[in-house]
């Protein structure tokens, strides 16, 4: 059975290859069957493995073949299976399956149906490899693989060059992180002599002391990779643009799975982070800053998917915060619950978009509660979980994070407070979304309702989003046990109360209208501030000025190949000499004689002088 673990990524991969090669020869139904079925089988296999594991929680490793072995460097294609892997695999295959199913309806009319599923299957395969990888190099393979799939899917509708731009941006920005991570890999190998994740931990124990600079640099480099992939500050700018892809893609890749890879990576290499407390703090700070920044931005967006995108950034910030404070279990837990409710929200928004002729602006929606009841309820549940209202899945995970953050020595309360502000904002913007879209008057009439292939995934995700909090993730073997002292009760009460306050504020502003904030928001400062937030804190602009434009400028300046100028100069000099000398060949014999006489004089001078 264990050997079959290799099949789990292989089946989607084969399905993907089949879809690519024989796209033209398959019916739509067959394409759908292949695309969904393969992930389904993977999900079933995962479930089987999970049941086995829960029965007999034994970590194992399956080596398929030696990937490369050069000198002392060796890397296998090998899969490592433990509780963390299981959680990730379950999320990927489970949520992935639902989203695939959803897609069959969502993408029904698209001409590139097969291509879509090919990419999506390939993504699932790559993501599985990422989380199953036994060593960092194979992980890197999956890491880059999901990046490319993300690129392909963001730019799926390639006819529009804006999509292409978004796709490229997504790839290149994450590539910056990836490169940092690759450097981290180089450093780790150079320092510790292996890239095998388990062996790394052991080697680190032998060679490193807590607080050394090497682990710090290595961890920061890995953090760089994680930041890129998980859209954290300062490499988050690609994610909102990545919403150009089909909505199920956003749900799967840009909410549930790929973007959380960074969280997974840090969790996976937490043994290294233990040697670098400063890196841990950096992780926490990055997470907190990101979550606040993104929450403010989400507050001002109009585009339903952008709101959700910023929300994703913000939520992943929470996960980073968790990782940074050593609450790994809580972080992974939040990863899982977030996958449920954010996938739900995205699919819901997908359903809306699908039925509203690709309308993205929330202010052109409204009153959909009655028109699209299934979607409404999904959204309600999703938003509740996102806002971490009590008893939803999000509540459990976020609560843990905040409480553990509070306990950190020194800066703990500050982290907690920051997290609370974020939670408040989250509640506000998520219910702003709900109230604006589903209540009030109907602005755009939906032309169809959701079919069963959309309803089933939505419903299942609703259940998960509600009940997911009760799942106990089997990661106790993976992470060191957190020393958990229950903090003061008021801390817990405040944590619970804040989201509720947020929902109420949202209600008062956006639905009830009791809270008149127009005067406040229309003030000059707030206007500017809103614009600032709306633009994503002008970070895109900053990058544009600092990096993109200079690079374009450089490329343009160099286009004509300055190095060649040197060779052109040589040519010019030769030609000039040629012209001078040719001019000397004037055809007049007297000059020729003069030249000879001159030569004679020189020869005589040379010979006579030396004697």
């Amino acid at each position: 059975m264990r050997e079959l673990i290799g099949l789990i990524p292989l089946i989607p991969l084969l399905s993907s290859a089949t879809l690519m090669l024989f796209a033209g020869h398959l019916s739509r139904f067959a394409i759908g069957l292949l695309g969904v079925g393969s992930v389904g089988i993977a999900a079933i296999l995962t479930a089987k493995m999970g049941i086995d594991f829960l029965g007999n929680p034994e970590v194992f490793k399956v080596t398929l073949w030696t990937w490369m072995q050069v000198g002392t460097f060796s890397s296998d294609v090998a899969f490592y299976f433990d509780g963390l892997t299981l959680v990730m695999m379950s999320v990927i295959t489970g949520v992935g399956f639902l989203i695939h199913l959803f897609s069959t309806e969502f993408m029904e009319e698209d001409v590139s149906y097969a291509r879509y599923f090919a990419y999506l299957n390939m993504f699932v395969a790559a993501m599985l490899i990422l989380v199953m990888a036994d060593n960092l190099l194979l992980l890197y393979l999956g890491w880059e693989g999901v990046g490319v799939c993300s690129y392909l899917l963001v730019g799926f509708w390639y006819q529009n060059s804006a999509n292409g731009y978004a796709a490229r941006k997504a790839f290149i920005v994450t590539r910056i992180g990836d490169t940092l991570m690759a450097l981290g890999l180089f450093l780790l190998f150079t320092e510790l002599g292996t890239l095998d994740i388990q062996a790394l931990g052991d080697a680190a124990k032998d060679k490193w002391q807590v607080g050394d600079s090497m682990p710090l640099i290595a961890c920061l480099l890995i953090l760089g990779g994680a930041v890129g992939k998980s859209a954290q500050l300062p490499l988050h700018t690609w994610l909102p643009d990545a919403m150009a892809g089909p909505t199920p893609v956003s749900a799967l890749i840009h909410a549930a799975t790929m973007v959380t890879a960074g969280v997974y990576l840090i969790a996976r290499t937490h043994e290294l982070y233990l040697f670098a407390p400063i890196a841990m703090i950096a992780v926490a700070l990055v997470g907190l800053a990101t979550s606040l920044m993104a929450a403010f931005t989400a507050l001002t967006q109009h585009d339903i998917k952008r709101i959700l995108a910023y929300s994703t950034i913000s939520q992943i910030g929470y996960m980073f915060l968790a990782l940074g404070v050593g609450a790994w279990t809580a972080g992974i837990f939040h990863l899982m619950t977030h996958a449920f409710f954010k996938a739900l929200l995205f699919l819901g928004s997908g359903a809306i978009i699908h039925c509203l002729h690709h309308e993205h602006n929330i202010f052109k929606m409204g009153g959909l509660r009655t028109r699209m009841p299934v979607t409404f309820w999904s959204f309600m549940i999703g938003s509740a979980a996102l806002a971490a209202l009590p008893m939803t899945s999000g509540f459990f995970s976020k609560d843990q994070i905040l409480l553990q953050a509070y306990q950190v020595d020194g800066i703990g309360p500050w982290l907690w407070f920051g997290g609370l502000v974020g939670a408040l904002l989250t509640a506000v913007y998520s219910f702003r979304l709900v109230f604006v879209v589903f209540f009030g008057q109907v602005n755009t009439e939906p032309d169809k309702d959701t079919g069963w292939r959309m309803v089933i995934p939505l419903s299942l995700l609703c259940i998960l989003a509600m009940m997911g909090g009760w799942i106990i993730i089997p990661v106790t073997q993976v992470f060191p046990l957190a020393v958990f002292e229950h903090p003061a009760h008021w801390v817990e009460y405040v944590s619970i109360a804040v989201p509720i306050v947020g929902v109420i504020i949202a209600y008062l502003i956006f639905l009830g209208g009791q809270l008149k904030v127009d005067v406040f928001t229309n003030s000059f400062v707030m206007q500017k501030l809103q614009q600032f937030w709306f633009s994503g804190w002008r970070i895109d602009w900053l990058y544009d000025q600092l990096l993109v434009r200079p690079y374009y400028g450089l490329a343009r300046a160099l286009k004509l190949e300055p190095v060649d100028n040197f060779y052109r100069l040589v040519v010019t000099i030769s030609q000039t000499f040629n012209q001078w000398l040719s001019a000397g060949q004037s055809g007049q014999m007297r000059r020729y004689i003069t030249s000879m006489v001159f030569g004679l004089i020189v020869l005589l001078a040379i010979l006579v002088r030396a004697s």
Binding site: R590, T594, V597, F598, L600, I601, L604, A605, V608
Partner: protein, 179 residues
């Protein structure tokens, strides 16, 4: 002593007449100066003990070869117009540069030659001695010289013969079209 004075006189005559020959506008005048120069050189030959060569210089050089020049000049019939043009060609801009070069060259030669030592001649090397040598070790040279003269003959025959053909008008125009 007389010989020595004679030598320097001959040398001066040779130099002056050569310079004159090189600077005349009229070809015939120049030629006559040249012949004078050759005769003066013949005198020098005689003085340094080479009477046979002196005779050859007069007979062949000044006599035969220069006469060839005379013939050609007469055939070309250059006339006064040519003389006038020659004068316009002799501007300083034409001769200053070459003259400087020449002076430098001469300075070098002067420096070199002034190091040559010894008297020029200890006795006469007469025709007999020359003849013996000529038909001894140098016999092949004579043969080759004959071939050389044959080449000169054939060449000038081929080239000169055409001049006697009815000369067409200048080919310049024709050629210019072709360029």
């Amino acid at each position: 002593m007389l010989e020595i004075i004679l030598f320097y006189i001959a040398a001066t005559v040779a130099l002056v007449s050569t310079i004159l020959a090189m600077t005349r506008a009229n070809a015939i005048h120049a030629l006559i100066y040249l012949i004078v120069s050759l005769l003066a050189v013949a005198v020098i030959f005689y003085l340094i003990g080479a009477p046979f060569v002196a005779a050859l210089e007069i007979v062949i050089y000044a006599g035969a070869i220069m006469v060839l020049f005379v013939f050609v000049i007469m055939m070309l019939n250059l006339g006064a117009k040519g003389d006038a043009r020659e004068k316009t060609w002799m501007r300083p801009s034409v001769w200053v540069g070459p003259a400087l070069l020449t002076i430098v060259l001469f300075a070098e030669l002067l420096y070199v030659i002034s190091s040559a030592e010894g008297p020029v001649s200890t006795g006469v090397v007469g025709a007999k001695q020359v003849g013996l040598s000529l038909f001894g070790p140098y016999v092949l040279a004579v043969e080759i010289a004959s071939m050389l003269l044959l080449a000169g003959l054939v060449g000038s025959f081929h080239l000169g013969r055409r001049y006697l053909d009815r000369a067409p008008s200048s080919e310049l125009g024709h050629q210019q079209e072709g360029e």
